[in-house]
Symmetry: C2
Subunit: 735 residues, 2 copies
Amino acid sequence: MELSIVLGVGFLALVVAAILAKWVLAQDQGPESMRKISGAIRQGAEAYLHRQNLTIAKIAIPLAMMIYLLYGFVREPNIHDPAGKGALALWTTLSFSLGAICSLIAGFVGMWISIRSNVRTAAAARTSLNGALQAALRGGAVSGLLVVGMSLLGVGGLYAVAKAMDATVKATQIPLLIVGYGFGASLVALFAQVGGGIYTKAADVGADLVGKVEAGIPEDDPRNPAVIADLVGDNVGDCAGRGADLFESTAAENIGAMILAASLGELVKASAALKGVVVSDETVIGFMLFPLVARAFGIVASILGLFFTKIREDQDPMTGLNRGYYVTSALAAVGFFVATQWLVKPICAASGNADAWMKYFYCGLIGIVTAQAFVYITQYYTEYKYRPVREIAEASLTGPATNIISGIAVGLESSLFPVLTVSAAIVSSYLLGNSAIDGGGLFGTAVATMGMLGTAGYILAMDTFGPITDNAGGIVEMSSQPEDVRKRTDRLDAVGNTTKALTKGYAVGSAALAAFLLFSAYLDEVRHYGATFVGVNLADPKVFVGGLLGAMLVFYFSSLTIRAVGRAAKQVIEAVRVQFAPFRDQNGELHLPEKFEPDYKAVVDIVTKGALRQMVWPGIIVVAMPIAVGLVFKEIGKALGESGLGAQVVAGFLMVGTIAGILMALFLNNAGGAWDNAKKYIETGAHGGKRSDPHKAAVVGDTVGDPFKDTAGPSLHVLIKLLSTITLVLAPLFL
Amino acid sequence: MELSIVLGVGFLALVVAAILAKWVLAQDQGPESMRKISGAIRQGAEAYLHRQNLTIAKIAIPLAMMIYLLYGFVREPNIHDPAGKGALALWTTLSFSLGAICSLIAGFVGMWISIRSNVRTAAAARTSLNGALQAALRGGAVSGLLVVGMSLLGVGGLYAVAKAMDATVKATQIPLLIVGYGFGASLVALFAQVGGGIYTKAADVGADLVGKVEAGIPEDDPRNPAVIADLVGDNVGDCAGRGADLFESTAAENIGAMILAASLGELVKASAALKGVVVSDETVIGFMLFPLVARAFGIVASILGLFFTKIREDQDPMTGLNRGYYVTSALAAVGFFVATQWLVKPICAASGNADAWMKYFYCGLIGIVTAQAFVYITQYYTEYKYRPVREIAEASLTGPATNIISGIAVGLESSLFPVLTVSAAIVSSYLLGNSAIDGGGLFGTAVATMGMLGTAGYILAMDTFGPITDNAGGIVEMSSQPEDVRKRTDRLDAVGNTTKALTKGYAVGSAALAAFLLFSAYLDEVRHYGATFVGVNLADPKVFVGGLLGAMLVFYFSSLTIRAVGRAAKQVIEAVRVQFAPFRDQNGELHLPEKFEPDYKAVVDIVTKGALRQMVWPGIIVVAMPIAVGLVFKEIGKALGESGLGAQVVAGFLMVGTIAGILMALFLNNAGGAWDNAKKYIETGAHGGKRSDPHKAAVVGDTVGDPFKDTAGPSLHVLIKLLSTITLVLAPLFL
């Protein structure tokens, strides 16, 4: 029953996505001028993603083989293994590969539909705002539903197959067998987000510096050879990257929550048996499947929410999106209520207090409220209605240096409320869960995470909406449409900027909660293997050093990704200069003909190569460092006679790395968003308006913020989760 | 015997400082024009420090009363208390007050001698480079020796008095009684560093923006009303702040190491007794006094090293300083050898292996080598001979935005090698110590810290040398001295910049090692009180939240201090604009008369008020947050029936906060230093040289780096240690 719902809803999400895709593709593609630009974007994006996926395959396939060899031949089998040596090696490798492939598909489809929705949104904007909104949102919904549907089908499907094949002695051990799925997904997500993030910002920064600043031509001017690369970037960075990111979030969270539920279920069963109460296996398995069922209900809520987003022609598009989000949140809460009562109540009853299930429902509500709180806090720090952005705009009056100082201060400050919110959510859901079932506190925090991620489908649709409208605006601009069409796409673009910023806040918040869930699962797994350590003792110098190294990885990784953007942007600038060179007179003045048709493809190729080259090292270091730390300290532990030291030091590495990653991501995302909007605020006429000195200062801040908020920040979300999933998969190696 | 050496050397350091001060004061003060400027600086610095100390007193006195009330009346006495209720309250309050007062004196004297050495250095530079070097270095040495001497006398003296009065049952409990000394010292250091740091950079940034950028007059032009405030800033920020900082480092490290040594000594004694071996109390007490004796020998080494710094007229001044440093390091190693053999060997013998003392000597060597490594790494990241600074300079070719992006990437990257170095030092000294005495691993890391801090006296002298030469250069410039005099002070100033950067690297490195020592001491203290928790379990959600909050404090605090500089600088700019207003013509062009005598005092007053106002909130939040976390989680622990939860969560807060603080300080210090030198590199003629566009871009980076490297970064060193000392003092409250 539980499994049928899970697989059924997963399938339903794919069907709805297909219907929406069919609808989008049936829309008018507009005049030839639009289709030509859209075609160039499509070509560039597809070529990039094709090569990116080849590069990822070159890394993922050897890694899959290594995992197989390590489990099948190097590692000594352990009596606690969920399956025999060969079977464990096979299942781990298979689930890793499946996760990686699904993540690639999620990214690819996100990009595929986005580069087809953009021109249709632009075409619809010629007549109607709501028409354009629908085209963009439904395009986004295709990607959103596909991601959450595939994530659910993947985990549910792997579980169903493993169960049908009797792969483990006990069904509750299956989640340990399929942890590779999350690792595969997050590995691909990391490379996709880093590569796409470098691509999009290198093209953006390069195009701006060489076009707006050097040549003095407007943004999105078709004579700028880098302008198509810039539009391609929105698709491969924001769509493909974020799609892979949220795919792995939901997949990893599902598996982690199942591991926790399984171990809590077994615990309740065992202690009930001592009191003479028999708990059936079905009850425990139902409880273990609760995370999947709750997610399935959340997907249904997201689908229904998407139908509530119509707007009238004179309405603010954000109103429509907000209405849909509230509906989704409310329906998700109802679904949570049903799922909790159905699957959690029996376990609560077995532990002695049937009514305690309500407390887990409250934990879910805490998650839903936390998601809302993150959305508000992000708005406060990045919208120009509020103090922080105003402060940066005012600091621009005394030049770029004070603009930067002020933006960095705002970014660093912006960690305050999110951390307080997450802290409150973790502690309160832990206390609630603990008071419901003895030892059920960690599961309480897991339920809060489920609540937060319940609306992921809708959020992802809103997020993909951003780059689609951004692209539509670019197409309208480049094909020289009339003023009122531009106004419509500008309105949608402004909303898209907001939704992009909000989903970034949501992504950090959920990463923070999910991380705690995942390393609880890691510790459960380690304990399952009979490790003797009772916790992660940071007062032990070796564990402390692990933590220090974890935090350092965050700083070093941020440095690599930020620098990569600078390097690739420089190549863009040089490539454009070559194309402009024939039009410079003896004094170096540029005289660009009105009809100049640049070689877009040359720049697209250069950014593609640059981004792919720069993405490899940051990706490898993230994978290699936790492995190295685990293996080195395993040996030190052997020398000292401390068993399990490797696993414990890795846990310290993971947890402190996660904390540093959350804070750094908040800093980078919010500083970048605030700089962006400080510039936009000045462009509304404040402090001298466009082309004034303060505006120039604000442009510097905006450019600095670009790699912060669209490359390093989002890559850190994935890094946090990759650290969790890699340790989850490789835990047996560190013991 | 041990105590006589300690008190004798402490006294000797003060005597040598007095002799050097007398020598400095006897030097020629140069012509009237120099003395006039020096007088204005002196007046401003003394007025600021006077008011700063009043403000600090207003915070410290109520805090002292609060500590007394909490210990004397609120808190329930514990059978593990080192003394009765009233005595414990009195000793804690007294040692806190004494630490605070000594720290105030250390800061004051540092400033006092610095504002007197600057003019004498300037005067000496008229005839001889070595003469100027000696005046500046001896001025710095007065401050350095006074700080380390007072720190040793304070801890040793408090111990001696407590022992003479039989304040505790056992002499090994005395360190627990006087932990307040470190807290008092670091509280004052925090305010002094934050206030002084804001002062110096607000004046610097404000003077640059309004003078160089707006009015187009050179740096240190006497017509700039903010120029005296800028020179005052060097004294109150760099001298007074750093003096208080290193004073509390050495004091807190001494007490922490004594606590660890006492508990290890008692442990060895107890286990020897089981084997029938009697260890005398004298042996244990001698072992406990080992940190003080090792420090005393280090001070002697520093005094001797200072005599090896003569240079020939044609030599690079850095050669002389380096020679002195090598001599100091070598002598400190010898002293360490003697102290270890004398006081550690008996304990090793009692634990079964007398030869193991050599291993602790090696731990000390690890500390000395770590100090050297930090100096080299800092040079690599901040000198323009190397790749990082070159990279920033090159990025300036495409404008301020890429300069900032590149600088931030370099700053973030610069955490890599320092973290690897500290990690290697902690793990190797732990393993060495552990193999010497069973359970002696933590003491091994403590000994490495002692090794690192052994040369603190010499390092501090080199550090204070920086602002003195900086000021001397300003005085020479403002009093229009001939070209060759300027050249001499420029050479010294360049060396001063290097020594300032190096000592910052040293300060972070020693803070990282000392922090681990201090929280080991904290855990020892907590265990001494019989808390039931075995470690700091980061896998517990409450402890994890503590860690999250600790890291957040670092980000939030950095934001506050960086923003404070921006705010105070804005006030400077406005004040200067008022003074320039009468000289602007109708078109707003500035026509400043050659002989314009601005009102320096008005600007000095404004910076003073601004800095003092901005220093209060960051200081209070650092003190209040750990207390709040400890008390809240103590209550949650009571509700959950988990004893000692408050103390454990505070430990998580402290440790993760420390890790975040180390990384953030490295980022801020090194990014700031690299930006500064990228500008200087361009000024040597690279990439177009002075007044080119890349130079303008580099000036933006330099300005952004100012509050990073001279306000937020150094304040974080103090923050890290304040967190340790505050938890050490208040631990009994959280239990």
